[in-house]
């Protein structure tokens, strides 16, 4: 590897925007400062460049509270838009998005696993990590467009002129609201997933020692084969209950329908979008089943799920907290309303 290529590898520690503007200048100066005929930079020089790049990244990144708001789908103040541009256009955006967005949505699961490491183990853990990564990869485009739009740019990011200069879009961007043939099915599943996963969250938080549906109560023992037998049945019962609740909410609560209709849809390719939805909803369904059937009474599960649906609907309709609802978790919460709407006869929608 030549001197120049070594330096090019090392200077990747600088932010992308910095490299675009000043990278060649740094490489020129590094070459001029190098001893004549040097084939490889000294380790100290490489460390110097890498360290300076990392310090520059640290210096120009947004403070934690601003970063958190951005990660949850909110706006980022304009001084950090160059950082945001790097984040959204970087090669590993999908991985960052997976960790910050999908992992944030799965925070309850992570907390419960820390409390109770036996909750999910073996191949199931591996499968869940794989599904989470796949979900992150598939939904990255949607979230990239969401961040662009939320911060005043076209969803494609094309209005960005060049680093350091901003084009502010004042008009609101019209987004298509067309649906996909498989979307209603996905939403039915999402409806169930939200309720069961909410129940799982509550169960994980309280680690209730008994499991109950209506008048049936069971004492929990993860090692018992009978418990394993019941897990499947209670899971199915939770799903049925969730469907019923979703339908009831959409039928009796008009604002849920309004909120659902206002929810912008992903503008990506239909097939890709469908796969992303199935992956996301499948993950949550799986988590919901594991959680709701192992830690908490299912009736309380359903009650909390319904309460969250109402809160989500109110918040979205009023525009309050809407940016924050548009995380993966928030998307699915509102899609539950859509799912419920699709259960209704056409004349009542």
């Amino acid at each position: 590897m030549t001197y120049d290529r070594w330096m090019r590898q090392a200077y990747r520690s600088f932010p992308q925007r910095w490299r675009a503007e000043r990278g060649e200048e740094l490489l020129d100066t590094a070459a001029a400062l190098a001893p004549p005929g040097a084939g490889r930079p000294a380790i100290a020089v490489l460390l110097d460049v890498i360290g300076a790049g990392l310090r520059e990244r640290h210096r120009t990144r947004p403070p934690f509270h601003r970063w958190l708001r951005y990660a949850l789908g909110g706006k980022l103040a304009r001084p950090w838009h160059p950082w945001m541009r790097d984040d959204l256009t970087g090669r590993w955006f999908w991985l960052r998005h997976t960790f910050r967005n999908v992992a944030l949505s799965l925070l309850p699961m992570i907390i419960a696993m820390v409390h109770n490491p036996n909750l999910i183990d073996g191949w199931l853990s591996v499968a869940m990590v794989a599904v989470v990564l796949a979900l992150g990869r598939l939904s990255a485009g949607f979230h990239r467009r969401l961040h662009w739009e939320r911060n005043g740019y076209e969803p494609s990011g094309e209005t960005w002129a060049r680093p350091g200069r901003f084009v502010w879009i004042t008009r609101s961007v019209q987004r298509p609201t067309a649906s996909h043939p498989i979307a209603p099915t996905c939403r039915w599943m999402g409806c169930a997933a939200i309720v069961t996963s909410t129940g799982w969250f509550c169960g994980a938080a309280y680690r209730h020692p008994t499991l109950a549906i209506g008048f049936l109560t069971f004492h929990q023992d993860p090692n018992s084969p009978i418990q394993r037998y019941w897990v499947g049945r209670i899971g199915v019962a939770s799903l049925v209950l969730a469907f019923a609740l979703g339908a009831l909410a959409a039928w009796r609560l008009p604002f849920v329908r309004v909120a659902a209709d206002r929810m912008p849809l992903d503008t990506g390719a239909p097939r890709r979008r469908g796969i992303a939805h199935i992956a996301g909803i499948g993950t949550l369904t799986l988590i919901g089943l594991v959680g709701a059937t192992s830690t908490f009474p299912a009736l309380a599960t359903a009650a909390v799920g319904a309460a969250l649906l109402v809160i989500g609907g109110c918040a979205t309709t009023a525009g309050f907290l809407r940016p924050h609802l548009q995380t993966t978790w928030g998307d699915l919460l509102v899609r539950q309303g859509r799912a419920a709407t699709s259960l209704l006869p056409a004349e009542r929608r």
């Binding site: 000043r22 200048e25 020129d28 460049v49 210096r59």
Partner: protein
């Protein structure tokens, strides 16, 4: 204060006292002024230039063609000049105090 805490900052500001200069010349001049006490790698140089620029102590002032390559020129701002003067006086005072002690103990 930042120039005092961070030695490369001081030498880079000092290197720009004579007028606008580009990265390579600043690095050479800094090493010379410090008597080889402050080695200036490309990372330290550009990291510090970036920081000084953000603090408003230096500014870019055009390009210069050197050996067929375009190099950006930097110059001190009024604040930058004031900072380097202040720091130099501080160092002279400190050195003077030490020298007085040395003279007394001989």
């Amino acid at each position: 204060v930042a120039a005092r805490k961070n030695r490369p900052s001081y030498w880079i500001l000092a290197a720009l006292l004579e007028g606008p200069s580009h990265g390579y010349a600043i690095a050479k001049q800094s090493v010379e002024l410090s008597g080889d006490a402050a080695p200036m790698g490309p990372g330290t140089l550009y990291g510090t230039l970036e920081k000084l620029h953000a603090e408003g102590w230096i500014e870019a002032c055009g390009d210069q063609l050197v050996d067929g390559r375009t190099r950006r020129l930097y110059r001190l701002t009024e604040n930058g000049r004031a900072a380097v003067v202040h720091e130099t006086e501080h160092r002279l005072e400190s050195a003077g105090r030490v020298q007085r002690i040395l003279g007394a103990t001989r």
